[in-house]
């Protein structure tokens, strides 16, 4: 039955990736793209990938045959089509970015011109689903209901449509992702504000739709092959009803509150619709379902792999992207095997005997001035998935997985004064407010009417609140029945300990004494109906036995990255996957623990055993005791897993690599400072304190050498709660905030160095000896978080002496801490003086970048060394025949109100890495890959600090040479005119004069804004903020850092877009081989 395909198999297939991670387009597309590449390669077909996201698995050496680290845009993709002579393209595995690019290539005739066939769903179908009007018409043809709506091409048309439909309405932009530019409007004022933003994004069409707020939101994942076999793999129900974007919603699978008639009605409509539209492959259909009748509306169809499909794959074990790729090549569903059971076919619908819960992760607190309410636009940066057998269990697990400092559905974790307002107008913490409301006696009916959350969900939450009360009703040991019930409801040992005024180890030994422990269950797609060989597992206290016994092999447990968040993203997934591969290569069985559904590491064929569960002390100990691995690797998943190092060590777990006591010596500021002093290594002046009295602060400031000062608590990730204080009262205010973040740790205050270069080293050591290292420099001066900075490898502007010193320091520190494994250090350099600012004894964000740029896999080597395998290896990281640039991707346009500036708090959501002959070429490619558009009309200059105004003279002249009109805010214009550079004045809002910068932006005269804020603290500078924010809302390119702006202008002056070489990654690497 298996193995039949259509005769016209393509020869070379081009796969489009999704580029940098951004809000609405995250790691899920690394997963789907990687699966597609695997599925296509298996057929003996050559694969060519375009994706500038250098931190992904799909851009690794063992994936596609050719990898182009280039922007996914029509210009570059056309170049690749010509160079590679591809005869087919897939556009459905790289999110909206790939889909839009593919549609553009089709419309411009490029695909036809070069004879490139689109595999899978036809472009015509994509257009039917993306153009709201066509979509509605197509569904009308078969009598399927869509929301009453009107597609409008101007603001006037929108206003007319609203008259017809009546408020409230939803505005949506066509061809957008993650609900960008969409808003619910209940008043005329809200409508006008939303109109502005909707048309501002360069959108030509806006859809006005009846508001279905409060209806249930239900999704189905549908697969159809070219022979019209069609199945729904999974359905999902949003706990948060319509009005909150599905990416912002808590989602469960399967649906919980639908009866069979409703379930089957929506399923049948899904199949009818998808057949009518002619999707070939995978798609997602979203519904609104009236909670008071069985009336429904189809909201949308995504004719591509999506975040939901990645979630559905992980929720069911059905490899949607893999199957979709095979279907695109001509296979039919019955031809393909079920890869979980290996004895049944891919034509089936998974039966779940568990429930999963997806919970989004937001990082809104990292942005100043951002609107913290959630709604129809996506703002979350990652998600977690919890697996269990009851809603209470998965909700509590998920809340802990978020790592937001709550240990479950804790009513006390909600701090706020207006419960009802929070429940009606939600922020990311609504679910905690619901728990609090139930605790304080608010009725389910009232919470339901405020929130629209179905009473079934609320009652389940209430059961947790009630159990919690029972637990709290006493101290010390809990009766076994209650303890078991609590564990089945998903309470952690720590939470129980807190409620009983006991300790986590006490609760643990108590429950083990009663034999209360979780068991490993298989996710087998068929609810145990058929035997499955699957290694895809979760832990639950509802099971009475383990589905699988531990093997006798020697094994290693690898901890993954957890939820993607600002500061910890796909790069740690790359590190985890490469660790697993390296460990497997050495003959060990690998067990991977992770809970992020957007990752490749949670693809069950990556490791020998995948446990989809919490990365916590409790869970790791449960697994460790059961599986008895040789050791645990904690240093590859970023900060979440590395934070467990010392705790695990103290609990008697063998932590592989650097001794956790030494990890602690590097992470604890006090201990690390002492170490550097011992080693006679320079560091910026610093002090710790718990005394925040004015007197003490004044004394400290003096000792440290005055302002500005960097303030932060110990144990930080990506600058959380970190800030720069410029004055005494700032310092005092911040300290009160920072101290609240982590009371058990003292606050560290460091002299903030300005005008210094920032340099990083990524390295691997073995028992204190550095084996591999790569030094990168930042384009931006110190003060921009290293995750937001633009990295250059090899460094272009460093003194040889500086490099020598950095290497020596790294060597000394590695030796002192007896490092085995990966580590990363950050330095400041000013006039050949090098100071250490940070040291992390774990893989860092830049490991995939340095590995891929140098062609040496640092992670593989680190993993081998951690297991005691030493084979000679070397890396050339200074004398490369090309330059690589890693640039940050920001998602400010998604975060209404957020001030788009850079500072010590990390703000970027993703990154790209591009290669070029020199810094300018690589930088320009990288900037374009993050959405930067080379200006064609006018550039607005608003250079805050006086010195900066003068430092930009050469670049201003270059912009003129490029034929661009210069606009400048009054102060900057004065300096430019003084230098004899012609420019037009663009007034600030506070000048109350026209033309203002904002109106010039509105009228489209400006297509690049260079705005350098006066200091890293942008608050209280409304003029600059308004210009920056308007630029972002109008989708106009924005540069806010002087060094980066200068480098970017130089690059644009040197290279036109057409001059940028479309060379693949391996061709760059080959230059080094030839040279050596």
């Amino acid at each position: 039955m298996f193995g039949q395909y259509l005769p016209q198999k393509p020869r070379r297939v081009l796969i489009l990736g999704s580029g940098a991670l951004k809000i609405g387009e995250a790691g899920e597309f690394d997963y789907s793209g990687s699966q597609a590449i695997k599925a296509i390669r298996e057929e003996g077909i050559a694969t060519v990938l375009v994706n500038p996201n250098i931190a992904t698995i799909q851009t690794s050496e063992d994936m596609a045959d050719k990898v182009y680290l280039l922007p996914v845009d029509p210009h570059f993709v056309e170049q690749v089509i010509i160079r590679e002579e591809v005869d087919a393209i897939t556009i459905s595995f790289g999110g909206q970015t790939a889909l839009n690019c593919g549609v553009a290539l089709d419309e411009s005739g490029v695909l036809k011109k070069y004879g490139v066939r689109v595999l899978g769903t036809p472009v015509e179908t994509v257009r039917d689903t993306e153009d709201r009007l066509r979509f509605k018409q197509r569904l009308d043809e078969i009598g399927v209901k869509t929301a009453r709506s009107a597609a409008c091409n101007s603001r006037e048309e929108v206003r007319a449509a609203v008259k017809m439909l009546g408020l409230p309405v939803i505005l949506r932009a066509a061809y957008s992702l993650g609900g960008k530019g969409s808003a619910i409007c209940e008043t005329d004022e809200q409508l006008e504000a939303a109109l502005f933003r909707a048309f501002g994004g360069g959108t030509a069409q806006v859809l006005v739709e009846e508001s279905l707020r409060g209806w249930k939101e239900i999704e189905y994942e549908v697969v159809r092959d070219a022979r019209d076999n069609c199945i729904t793999v999974c359905n999902m129900e949003n706990l948060d009803p319509l009005g909150i974007h599905t990416g912002e919603s808590i989602v469960v699978a399967p649906s919980q509150t639908l009866n069979d008639a409703e379930y089957q009605m929506l399923r049948s409509i899904a199949i009818r619709t998808i057949r009518h539209l002619g999707v070939v492959g995978e798609c997602n259909i979203q519904y609104a379902l009236d909670p008071k009748s069985n009336d429904y509306r189809v909201i949308e169809v995504n004719a591509r792999l999506s975040r939901s499909s990645a979630l559905a794959s992980k929720a069911t074990g059905y490899p949607l992207a893999y199957v979709a790729a095979k279907i695109a090549l001509g296979y039919t569903l019955p031809d393909l095997p079920n890869t979980i059971t290996r004895r049944t076919s891919a034509f089936f619908e998974p039966a779940l005997d568990y429930i999963v819960c997806k919970f989004p992760r937001w990082d809104l607190q990292k942005f100043s001035q951002v609107d913290t309410r959630i709604g129809s636009e996506m703002k979350s940066v990652g998600e977690v998935m919890a697996v269990g057998r009851t809603l209470a269990e998965v909700l509590q697990k998920a809340l802990r997985m978020l790592e937001i400092g709550v240990d479950g559905l804790d009513p006390d974790a909600f701090v706020g004064d207006d419960l009802r307002d929070e429940i009606r107008n939600p922020s990311p913490r609504r679910i905690l407010a619901v728990a609090r409301a139930l605790e304080t006696g608010m009725s389910v009916a009232e919470i339901n009417s405020l929130s629209g959350i179905d009473p079934w969900f609320l009652h389940q939450i209430d059961s947790v609140v009630r159990t919690r009360r029972q637990l709290k009703d006493g101290t010390g040991a809990v009766v076994p029945a209650l303890l078991r019930e609590a564990k089945q409801q998903g309470f952690s040992d720590k939470a129980i300990a807190r409620l009983r005024k006991s300790t986590e180890p006490e609760v643990r030994s108590e429950r083990l004494r009663h034999g209360i422990k979780p068991h490993l269950c298989q996710i087998d797609t068929l609810a145990a109906e058929y035997p499955a060989e699957t290694n895809y597992l979760y832990l639950t206290y509802h099971a009475t036995v383990d589905d699988v016994a531990p093997s006798w092999r020697k094994k290693v447990l690898v901890l993954g990255s957890g939820a993607y968040r600002i500061g910890s993203s796909v790069e740690f997934d790359w590190c985890s996957v490469n660790t697993v591969r390296a460990v497997q290569e050495l003959g060990y069985e690998t067990i991977l623990l992770n809970y992020n559904p957007e990752t490749v590491s949670t693809d069950y064929d990556v490791c020998d055993k995948l446990v989809f569960d919490e990365i916590s002390l409790e869970t790791v100990l449960d697994l460790y005791e059961r599986e008895q691995p040789y050791g645990v690797i904690v240093s590859m998943g970023g900060q979440v897993s590395n934070n467990l190092a010392l705790k695990l060590h103290k609990a008697g777990v063998r932590v592989l690599g650097t001794n956790p006591e030494n990890v602690d010596r590097a992470e604890d500021r006090e201990k690390f400072g002492d170490l550097l002093d011992q080693l006679k290594i320079d560091q910026p002046n610093w002090a710790t304190t718990t005394d925040v009295s004015d007197e003490n602060l004044r004394r400290l400031t003096e000792e440290l050498g005055g302002f500005p000062l960097l303030v932060r608590p110990s144990y930080v990730l990506s600058g959380a709660a970190m800030t720069v204080a410029h004055e005494q009262h700032h310092l005092r205010n911040y300290l009160h905030r920072a101290a609240a973040v982590s009371p058990e740790h003292p606050v560290v205050i460091t002299k903030f160095e300005t005008h210094a270069k920032e340099i990083e080293i990524d390295a691997v050591a073995d028992r204190g000896e550095v084996i591999l290292s790569a030094i990168s420099e930042h384009v931006e001066n110190a003060g921009v978080h290293s995750g937001d900075a633009t990295l250059v490898l090899p460094p272009q502007k460093l003194y040889v002496e500086t490099i020598r010193r950095i290497k020596r320091i790294a060597r000394d520190v590695a030796k002192a801490l007896q490092i085995t494994g990966p580590f990363n250090m950050q330095f400041l350099a000013k006039d050949n003086v090098v100071k250490v600012i940070e040291c992390n004894l774990r893989a860092s964000r830049s490991f995939p970048f340095v590995s891929k740029v140098t062609g040496t896999n640092f992670i593989r080597e680190a993993a081998r060394r951690m297991l005691g395998v030493a084979t000679p290896v070397s890396v050339e990281a200074l004398d490369l025949d090309y330059v690589a640039v890693k640039a940050a991707q920001f998602s400010f346009s998604r975060l209404a109100g957020a001030d788009p500036t850079l500072g010590v708090e990390m703000a970027s959501t993703g990154e790209v890495g591009c290669l070029g002959d020199d810094l300018s070429e690589a930088l320009l490619k990288a900037l374009i890959a993050t959405g930067f558009k080379v200006p064609k009309r006018g550039v607005l200059l608003s250079l805050g600090p006086v010195a900066d105004k003068y430092r930009f003279e050469r670049e201003a002249r270059w912009l003129l040479e490029m034929g661009l009109t210069l606009y400048a805010t009054p102060g900057t214009a004065d300096v430019l005119k003084e230098q004899g550079i012609p420019c037009e004045v663009a007034y600030k809002e506070s000048n109350e004069k026209e033309p203002s910068a904002v109106s010039l932006l509105n009228s489209g005269h400006i297509d690049l804004v260079i705005n350098i804020p006066r200091s890293y603290d942008s608050q209280g500078m409304p003029d600059g903020y308004r210009i920056r924010r308007r630029a972002v809302d109008m989708n106009v390119s924005l540069l806010t850092n002087l060094q980066l702006a200068r480098a970017a202008v130089e690059a644009m002056h040197k290279y036109r877009v057409e001059d940028l070489k479309p060379l693949d990654w391996a061709s760059y690497l080959a230059r080094n081989v030839k040279k050596n």
């Binding site: 919980q256 199949i271 089936f348 998974p350 009851t390 009473p455």
Partner: protein, 366 residues
Amino acid sequence: MHFMKLVLEDGTELRGRSFGAPREVAGEVVFTTGMSGYVETLTDPSFRGQILVTTYPLQGNYGVPARRPKDSIAAPFESGRVQVQGMICLRHSEHPSHHGMASTLGEWLREENVPAIDGIDTRTLTRKLREHGTMKGWLLHEDAAVAEGKQRADTIDMPSVVAQVTVPEAITYPGGELRVLIVDTGCKDNIVRAILKRGATVIRVPSHADLAQYLPDVDGVLLSNGPGDPKDLLPLAAQIRGLFDRGIPTFGVCLGNQLLALAAGGDTYKLRYGHRSQNQPVQDLLTRRCYVTSQNHGYAVREDSLPADWEPWFVNVNDGTNEGIRARGRAMSSVQFHPEATPGPEDTAFLFDDFLRLCGSMKRGR
């Protein structure tokens, strides 16, 4: 809180919280993997005599709608009562939510005098049933002595089970010009509704009825689903055999498929643990098209036992078992799955259209 225990043939004892009637029962323990549709499932007469284990852990989430009047055949109920001997699940909802609900699952089961327990690891229980094959089981009070409990427990006499679920006498449901005779061996009401919805009249007759007496007056015969071993119904199979040369379109569902095979001279056998789920893939051997189907059967047709003038029509994509047969040169066919769904996917509902079209065209041809 009241506790009961499930005792299996192999000696296994599992303790659970009782949420149904406090009555001790015996029955064959079977599992279903469907994720929705407990109201339809529990009232499906094919489950008569069986203790049902649900692999989906959460049951009763949307409650149970208002009970229908005595002679009604309204959805979502598939018969006039809860048919299972007992129900086993991990968790039931005491606080369900749905606009159409009138009571909780537990209230309904108590009202129907059907026992049920939750707190059972149904995945592990299912694995046991899968490995061991279906087993006999007893739902007993927690403290009951097993030997006496087994004696006490209410049992259904399986060889005569169909007599308990068939209609006592013929019922006519007017629906249109075409007239379809449904031989009720435990017919799900949705089969009746499916025919009525398509504009035909249904004459629903007991399994022991003399079919020949109705034939002159009907345009097609539908052999329904039902519980038990088809070989307990050999007299009915013989009656069906009598239809073969009457030139009347005949369509069978589930037990109807097995009876038609027996009538044709074929054989049936008991599956190790049956198919009870809503995600069973079947392939139409003529068109190669595949469909997802709802199934509930413990017996199957032995494909290689079919005489030469019959052929397999559908096959199960997962395990290769027979899912339907058709006669060569006669308007007779049947399927092992449930095209009427409820619960489950509606993908094969077109089979009723095909059947009625056939009835119509043959009527005109006469």
